[in-house]
Amino acid sequence: MNDKKDKKGISGVERAQKSSSIKQVESVDEVTRVTKTERVGKARGSSSVGGATQKLLYEDREKLLSLVDEEAEKLFEKSNLPEGQKKVIRDAVKMAIDGSLLDEEGIAVEGKAQDEKS
């Protein structure tokens, strides 16, 4: 039921705005036939989620190990961690990085496989 009590006052009617030209309807392309869905393969790319990863290269070995020392020094400069703990931390990171770097032969094999593929 139309209850006039609840109606709010009607404000003035706004001036009609000029209409813009109607865009020409473009032709509708033929609807392509839905093809059968292929099985979804596993996602490629790095195992690290959240962006591209930075490959460890053997040629960067010395640089990487010395960066560990540099960054550890910055990190622990004002820290009261005992020297023993700092050494363990630093060495552990170096071991992990060193244990992930393929030597020259491994890189050569990887490179050969890449070349054969391209």
């Binding site: 393969g41 990863t53 490959k55 460890l56 622990f76 961690l81 363990v88 030597d103 491994g106």
Partner: protein
């Protein structure tokens, strides 16, 4: 190994034994280099400590299960498994177990580095962990290394707490105090990853969210903790990202106490 075709649960497009053996021959040198790199990291001998055999077994295992129709290159599929097998062989080897002239710190460092491989699995694939920001080159390397250093700091903190030997007890109070200043949800993330050994995938699954939320939060937390350690003071707690707000609010509502808050107050009494 049975002399028959191995079938995959996902597809019938599998390698024949001959094709699998060809893969093994083609990648033998590469698998050996993975074993050598693991040995080098821990100052072991890759042959006398048995890493060569473990790497070959893993290579053969992978060749039998490799499914080329999935579009993943064999090396991408196999590298992590070969690295894991080599790591495990290293830990069982005489070179690892026998007491040598190496200091106790060397032994502790080896144990911590093993954990780093689990915390940052991209290392096994030959990559550095990436930060959230778009650095490149040297700067990217430094950011990655800082993440590893902070991760190792957390591991040593936990090990120090668990150590029963006063000689091995490492000063953990400062790091615990930094952790106790974090939001409850952040404390729980660190606790579950570094103390309970949960994967980020498990945490995300428990919280019914995308794994990426937890991964990104973890990286942000490592950056935050790195700054605290560097400045030797706790900062304002890191803000919780939108993806985790729901869970964080639930925890606040339930008045959940952060595990490091609890630990820190226990240490002070």
């Amino acid at each position: 190994m049975a002399d028959e075709q191995v079938t995959s649960e996902e597809s019938k497009e599998v390698l024949s034994i001959d094709e699998a053996n060809e893969l093994v021959e083609e990648h033998r040198g590469w698998a050996e280099s993975i074993a050598r790199s693991v040995a080098r990291g821990w100052n072991l001998d890759w042959q006398s400590d048995g890493l060569d055999g473990a790497a070959m077994e893993a290579l053969i295992f992978c060749s039998r299960r490799f499914n080329p129709s999935l579009g993943i290159p064999f090396r991408g599929y196999a590298r992590r498994r070969i690295h894991e097998a080599s790591t495990e062989a290293a830990r069982q080897s005489k070179g690892w177990i026998k007491p040598t002239s190496a200091s106790q710190y060397d032994r502790l460092a080896k144990e911590v580095s093993v954990e780093l491989f689990d915390l940052f699995p991209e290392l096994r694939s030959g990559s550095l962990p990436m930060s959230l920001d778009e650095e490149s080159g040297d700067q990217a390397m430094r950011v990655s290394i800082r993440q590893l250093l902070v991760g190792a700091t957390l591991v040593t903190t936990r090990q120090g707490l668990a150590s029963s030997s006063p000689d091995e007890l490492l000063d953990t109070k400062k790091v615990i105090s930094f952790l106790a200043h974090l939001e409850v949800i952040h404390q729980i993330i660190f606790w579950r990853i570094y103390w309970d050994g949960d994967s980020m995938r498990t945490i995300a699954s428990d919280w019914e969210m995308d794994e990426l939320n937890v991964i990104r939060e973890h990286k942000a937390l490592l950056d935050h903790l790195q700054r605290a350690i560097q400045k030797d003071k706790a900062f304002e707690p890191l803000k919780v990202r939108p993806g985790l707000k729901r869970v964080a609010l639930d925890m606040k509502r339930d008045k959940t106490i952060g595990p490091f808050t609890k630990l820190f107050s226990e240490q002070r009494t």
